[in-house]
């Protein structure tokens, strides 16, 4: 053991003192009364004071210090845990708010799109209605105009026949010199044309 270190130190300076073998370690002692840690008259005062001092220390530790330090540590732990819990709650709240906000934005966007679509639809409908109305009007006008034209045409054609009858009658009159019955002329003409 380490005790061997002692021996040369003892040997170096063991002159005048009484040699004395002490204890199980076999170390040499050379002070009056022996090696201090093994002097029996030193035992009692040390033990008495040790018991007193260690006893008081134990009481102070177990009654005051350790519960206090334990309390501090526990306090800190609960504080940290509750703070973390609170922050987690806040985070959850913030996330919920963000989700609600997004949902809201989505709804509003859909609404806006619907409004846009409706407006477009309405405008398209109106435009279509106006076009059809304009088209029917135009068609009516065209029809009326065509009727007028065909009436004018028939009238004009009727006039042409009369003019032709008159002209034919007068030509025949001039050529033959005889009077011409216009009705008979027309009937004859119709007869010739149909055969």
């Amino acid at each position: 053991m380490k005790m061997t270190i002692i021996s040369p130190a003892f040997a170096a300076e063991s002159e005048q003192e009484t040699h004395e073998t002490v204890g199980a370690t076999g170390g040499e002692a050379h002070h009056e009364g022996g090696f201090p840690p093994f002097q029996q008259e030193n035992f009692a005062p040390q033990i008495v004071w040790l018991i007193g001092i260690f006893g008081i220390l134990y009481l102070l530790m177990s009654r005051v210090a350790l519960p206090r330090v334990g309390g501090i540590l526990e306090n800190r732990e609960t504080k940290i845990a509750s703070d973390l819990e609170a922050s987690r709650e806040m985070q959850a709240k913030a996330q919920a708010a963000a989700r609600a906000n997004e949902e809201n934005i989505r709804l509003r966007r859909e609404e806006a799109q619907a409004i846009g679509r409706d407006a477009q639809q309405k405008i398209a409908n109106e435009a279509a209605a106006q076009r059809t109305r304009a088209e029917t009007e135009a068609a009516e006008k065209i029809r009326a105009a065509e009727a007028r034209i065909s009436a004018a045409k028939t009238q004009a054609l009727g006039n042409v026949e009369q003019i032709a009858i008159d002209a034919a009658a007068s030509i025949i009159e001039k050529l033959s010199g005889a009077g011409v019955d216009k009705d008979r002329l027309v009937a004859e003409y119709r007869n010739v044309k149909s055969s």
């Binding site: 201090p36 030193n42 005051v64 210090a65 206090r68 330090v69 501090i72």
Partner: protein, 255 residues
Amino acid sequence: MSAEETVSQPNPIEQFELHRIFPLEINGIETSFTNASLFMLLAALGVVALMVLATSRQAIVPGRIQSLAEMLYEFVANMVRQTAGKEGMKFFPFVFSLFSFILIANLIGLVPYTYSVTSQIVVTFAFAALVLTLVVVYGVYRNGLGFLKLFVPHGVPLPVLVVLVPIEIISFLSRPISLSVRLFANILAGHITLAVFGGFVVLLLASNGWSFLAPVPLLAIVALYALELLVACLQAFVFSVLTCVYLNDAIHPGH
């Protein structure tokens, strides 16, 4: 460490002498207040200053000394929990007092001109006897005769037990001796070594022509001092860990 050494006669064991500061005797028992008592008191006051005064503010965010106190608390608490289990925590105040007292006493003893309380076999043996008494008393109180299972390891065949039980008993009985001598011898040897090397410095300085060698043992002292700081902490730790191990035996004697 040794205080006033004469140049011719450095005395490495003078530092362990007990000086009666107030001689006193009660009922035939000497209860003198000695230098040992003084440094026991200082060590205890050091522990109290650390654990009671420094934590008086009970700050959520600790200061330096308070966090030192908390570290010590958690260190010992973990040690007890790991070695002696949850049930061992009822001995936590005891182990803590033991560890902190021995640690502070060891550290104070390393300051020059102080007295090392734990360099006295009677002190370390008193602690060891206290621990072992506690182990036996609690072991019997908790387990009754079942405490004797401590000497009968579980699952060992009968022929082996015949040999093993006496060995277990001897090892149990030698515990207070090994526990006390380990701490005592380490501290004693360390202090003697430091004083011897200190003596070498003095002797070399006083010698003719060899004084230039004086820094060599001085450097050795520096290195040894670092080692002794380690030993001071380590031995306090070893003492308390073994205390926990023995208490664990008292709680669970059947292994």
